[in-house]
Amino acid sequence: MDAKELIARRVAREIAPGSLVNLGIGLPSLVANYVPASLGVFFQAENGVIGLGARPPEGMEDSHLTDAGGGFVTAVPGAASIDSAMSFGLIRGGHLDMTVLGGLQVDEAGHLANWKVPGKMVPGMGGAMDLVTGAARVVVAMQHAARGQSKIVPRCTLPLTALRRVDLVVTDLAVIEPTAAGLILRERAPGVSIEEIRAATEGALVVPDDVPEMALA
């Protein structure tokens, strides 16, 4: 199993039955593959649909139905189409149960940076700032390190997405829960030791006596 699949399978276990969930583009969007339809979850895409479904059959795409990355999607029975004001009213107004976002850095205070690398990448924040500010629960799904650099840092050096502390970070090595007392190491990826996680993590971790291996969907 590759790192992205591992992360997506672990995040999928965080999704509560019957909830409204927004998945970011890229890695977070893979989470939907591991959420059974029987859970009755509605996925929101911020461009304007509640009840996002899988990719349509080849040649049957509808140019009026895409996800927030512009890719063709379907809609599940019970779906609703909404305009952007309603879409962000749901997000900012606290009606969204959970969002899963990618990350560039998460720091010891639980702050997320994921929208800008000054001088290099200035794509714009899109919906990320509203999602982190307003969603009831914020889960960050990202690789633990990029180009040998830990993405879990003492303090974000990249511009913050929001001041709100994220609720959970799932990486290819660990599950980490940011709290007022710091970053608590909750779970290890299969076959990964606490020492390996510490070595790969620049930020300080609080390590409980028992750190079980992740269970995957």
């Binding site: 139905l65 305009d83 929001a162």
Partner: protein, 217 residues
């Protein structure tokens, strides 16, 4: 509603230096024939207010490629490398706005409000230079309203008096910008007799629409 115009005649209403709100999300729900006519006319110095600048060759991306845009107010430009390159070279000034804030600023402009109070962007770069107020114990950024000289709408159906309906994720910014443009021009995929669009399905009442584009050839 003042009548149906050819795309060329509609583009002819737009002077050098005009501000345009344009519907669409990654070119879904964008009035493409209208954009083609603006590109053909070649008036420059335009300000574009929209969710994104699509990608080269599609929707707003065509205006960017043609060099007609000098200012962009958008939430995301990450999928159009030309917009990013022109921003870095200084050819385009770009104000990046959180998506939920952008649509609310447009809504405020269109609905006669003096602005928006939002928690999104607090303690981030978005806060710089802005007033922060406290209301009932919560902190909020004061965001100013947005209006534009023109709102260019991409709709699914229009009737003869300009009532508009939209499909699925092609709503996005369209119903909101219809209130915030001093002149509203709508391009619909089909034009139907009055009464064909049920009153409950009308998302933009015809009283807001100044001109329709004539049907596609």
């Amino acid at each position: 509603m003042k009548g149906a115009l050819t795309p060329e005649a509609a583009a002819g209403l737009i002077p050098e230096g005009a501000s345009l709100m344009i519907g669409g999300f990654m070119a879904v729900g964008t009035p493409e024939r209208m954009i083609d006519a603006i590109v053909a006319r070649g008036v420059g110095g335009l300000t574009v207010i929209a969710n994104d600048t699509a990608m080269p060759g599609k929707g707003i991306g065509k205006l960017i490629s043609a060099g007609l845009v000098t200012r962009v107010i958008a939430s995301h430009i990450g999928l159009n490398p030309e917009t990013q390159a022109k921003m870095i070279s200084g050819e385009i000034t770009c104000e990046l706005v959180p998506q939920g804030t952008l649509i609310e600023r447009i809504r405020a402009g269109g609905m006669g409000l003096g602005g928006v109070l939002t928690p999104t962007g607090l303690s981030t770069e978005v806060e710089e230079g802005k007033q922060v107020v406290e209301v009932e114990g919560g902190r909020f950024l004061v965001e100013t309203p947005l209006k534009a000289d023109f709102a260019l709408i991409g709709a699914w159906q229009a009737d003869y008096i300009g009532n508009l309906s939209y499909l699925l994720t092609a709503h996005n910014f369209n119903p909101i910008i219809a209130l915030a443009g001093r002149m509203v021009i709508a391009e619909a995929e089909s034009i139907v007799p009055v009464g064909v669009i049920p009153p409950d399905a009308v998302k933009t009442p015809g009283v807001l629409v100044d001109h329709l584009l004539i049907r596609a050839a």
